[in-house]
């Protein structure tokens, strides 16, 4: 993935996080990302069309109910936010993917997107993803966020 695509991914994700979840993304220019507090998860989806690819969004588990609460406009300990902690993460990824593909390819090409799926990430897998040159590192509410577009 080119540096331009990474910048676009960061920009699209930031806009979606702001508009969908009212969460503000802090870019980490030369600073290292904060270490994740506790276990982490990655939501992933693939797409086919003008070009195939995969989009991955990894966050600490602790951030998931916070995202859900923000999307719903409720407190993080709200029943619905707690009951479906990965639902909002999947939706954040899904909306980012749809908007990113339009930003990359324009409005004419048709892409087919898979349904996002969440898996747990151990420390080794998190570190490998963080150190991948194609990964974009961001911070939301003091939590690290990893995004990777594979084309």
């Amino acid at each position: 993935m080119t540096t331009g695509n990474q910048a676009m991914l960061a920009r699209v994700f930031s806009q979606v996080a702001e508009n969908l979840a009212f969460m503000f993304v802090e870019p980490q220019e030369d600073e290292p990302l904060p270490a994740p507090a506790g276990p982490c998860v990655a939501a992933e989806m693939t797409f086919t069309g003008q070009f195939p690819g995969t989009l991955t969004l990894a966050v600490p588990m602790a951030l998931c109910p916070v995202i859900a609460a923000n999307v719903l406009g409720v407190e993080p300990d709200d029943e619905l936010a707690m009951a479906q902690p990965y639902d909002a993460l999947n939706e954040l990824l899904n909306v980012t993917c749809g908007n990113l593909l339009t930003a990359l390819a324009g409005e004419e090409p048709v892409f087919d997107l898979t349904i996002p799926a969440v898996r747990e990430l151990d420390g080794k897998a998190w570190n490998a993803l963080e150190n991948d040159s194609e990964t974009v590192g961001l911070v939301i509410e003091e939590h690290p966020v990893l995004l990777k577009l594979t084309l």
Binding site: N19, L20, A88, N90, N94, G98, T102, E107, E108, L113
Partner: protein, 125 residues
């Protein structure tokens, strides 16, 4: 006037957001039904009178497009307006959906104002 509305989306969070946005948009809802995929949506439509359907496209079991196509084959359901709510950004696909009879398309993330404009345009203010 209050409307009966069906929301079809595999995400609980998205269904909750649409419900909340309908409220913020000032749209009067009489009964609100929910379904997690197109198949459940068809079941709801066969059991309840619905004025308007909001549906995602990409869902497990049965997609929103397949649900819409099944609705067109059913005399009782073919007249119910369907609004697609999706991340889809392809003008080609949106035009295709509109040509097939989908009444409107809302791209996520959306605002209460855009929802109100679309519902008002279909059902009247």
């Amino acid at each position: 006037m209050a409307y009966n509305i069906l929301i079809v989306d595999d995400s609980n969070i998205v269904r909750a957001v649409i419900k909340k946005t309908l409220d913020l948009a000032g749209i009067s809802v009489n009964e609100l039904y929910e379904a997690a995929n197109g198949e459940e949506g068809l079941q709801q439509l066969k059991q309840h009178w619905v004025d308007l359907v909001f549906s995602d496209i990409n869902m497990p079991v049965m997609s929103g497009v397949e649900m819409f196509n099944r609705m067109q084959e059913d005399e009782d359901l073919k007249g119910i307006p369907v609004v697609v709510v999706s991340t889809e950004g392809s003008k080609t696909r949106i035009d295709e959906l509109l040509q097939h009879g989908i009444r409107a398309y809302i791209r996520k993330p959306f605002t209460p104002e855009s929802l109100r404009d679309i519902v008002g345009g279909i059902l009247g203010d």
